[in-house]
Point group: C2
Chain length 335, copies 2
Amino acid sequence: MAKRLGRRTIALDPPVYLSAHAAIVGQKEGEGPLQGTFDLVSGDTHFGQKTWELAEANMQRIAIETAAGKAGLSVADFDMILAGDLLNQCIGSSLASVRSNVPFVGLYGACSTMAEGLAVGSCLMNSGAARCLCAAASSHFCSAERQYRFPLAYGGQRTPTAQWTATAAGAAVLTDQKTPVRVTHVVFGQIVDMDVTDANNMGAAMAPAAYDTLSHLFEDTNTQPSDYDRILTGDLARVGSRLLRDLFARDQIDLGQPYDDCGVLLYGSAQDVHAGGSGCGCSAAVLCGDILDRMERGALHRVIFAGTGALMSPTSVQQGQGIGGICHAVILEGA
Amino acid sequence: MAKRLGRRTIALDPPVYLSAHAAIVGQKEGEGPLQGTFDLVSGDTHFGQKTWELAEANMQRIAIETAAGKAGLSVADFDMILAGDLLNQCIGSSLASVRSNVPFVGLYGACSTMAEGLAVGSCLMNSGAARCLCAAASSHFCSAERQYRFPLAYGGQRTPTAQWTATAAGAAVLTDQKTPVRVTHVVFGQIVDMDVTDANNMGAAMAPAAYDTLSHLFEDTNTQPSDYDRILTGDLARVGSRLLRDLFARDQIDLGQPYDDCGVLLYGSAQDVHAGGSGCGCSAAVLCGDILDRMERGALHRVIFAGTGALMSPTSVQQGQGIGGICHAVILEGA
């Protein structure tokens, strides 16, 4: 049974174990600083499909199947799949799991989706509703760019605060069988809207939500940043992660060395992604590649994975609505 | 702890209690056969707002606040809100809960969202992750019509199989305190795609998914349709619900008198809605108005609420993709 700890945090008892994970990315992501940590780098941006939507769906499906395979399972062994993406009506995830014959729980948390899936999935595991499930998320530069901003061929200028939607998918398998890496705590975030209305500055829109969730997490668990080997947000990128450090500095809390952001980690400084990466797949692929690999090897012991999402649609932005940020977090413990 | 029963069904132990519910609808819905069962019928389609998206958000917010009030709570007392809608990036639900200061779990299940929220929420309650939460869903004819089909002013013709998106929202409060109505079982559905590609025939796309989920439910619980006072799908409307009866008839199972569909129930035959109602708010408002009222009064004892969703986007339909159906179900027991 999960136990509520303080105002926000949920302590899992027993912890929920991660038995496998997979990260699938596009060429650009595969050429960044995390090269060598992905299960597949596709040279074909279409992932063998004729539309960008099917490309994203296929990428997410490959991530789920790869994770299942690495866990020694087939997809049909999952009690359920929890997944989401950025596309209208989350069509990437629906198309990814349409032939799975596995119960499907659709989530929408914008770029926080991987963390939302791990958080909801961990609680479902603790309830006994599932003994083994898969949480997955994806994004694709080409499907997102066309939907959120401009047709690709238009070649629109980007502002310095803009983020680059990663072509990436991640999937993680949760199980009740003991493995070296486990989810010990979960924090569901509330929506925080500081009246940021610029869709090209999502980092600023999301940083206050990350601050809110992480503040509660530290308080509820009576821990501080230095108690963790890594505190990862995903994806505030350079602008938002600086803001997050500033917000904590006001409380005399230094996020310090452990803190980093998946949107900063995924691309190198020469890769022309402006403020950094974004998209559900960005944090999903960084977690389900490099981070969980390192936790399994014992190189990282205690990690906060805090997914951050910007809750807006092109319509809401055109109508001048503020962009609400949200941040769901999980605490992972390794070998 | 929840227990898995057979291949798909999850038995909740203890059951999860429903302490309050609210249904908010537009004028057309308020003039239908269920008039008098709603908490508010708004004569103003804009719900006091300047855009359709804000109108839908405000309607959902009123549903959540009304449900909280009827439970003797304020919204801040919820451990979390689980909500979703049909709008791109589920913006209706985000805007509805942006000032709630309550952890928010975004769901996407198309018109199955109310059932998905009750199902996920019930398992979260059973895990101990929440002691009291709110599940909500909404749809608005004007925001949906513009997004999925044509600008309202265009006055496009509708096919006889088309469904009418309800302007409606429902919210239900789940609690661990005993009340007369409880959720006893949950079934998460898998996506079923029978290659229906006509977005004006969603009933046909969803009926096979409803058949799949309900078949498992009957088998896992060793029950038959006549064991229930009501078996409600939402929203297959007239075309889809006839198909569902046919699919069960092939197995020599008669859904019989208990079976009905929220999309059929919401509107009268003179209301010109073609095949019937649809939209996340349709089944949400029928359940959170008439059905739960009758369960509390003891007029209905055992009810299956099976939310059905068509997993498609305008883009996927234009690209010729099949429309996957999904159906999540809960079994409710009353006084």
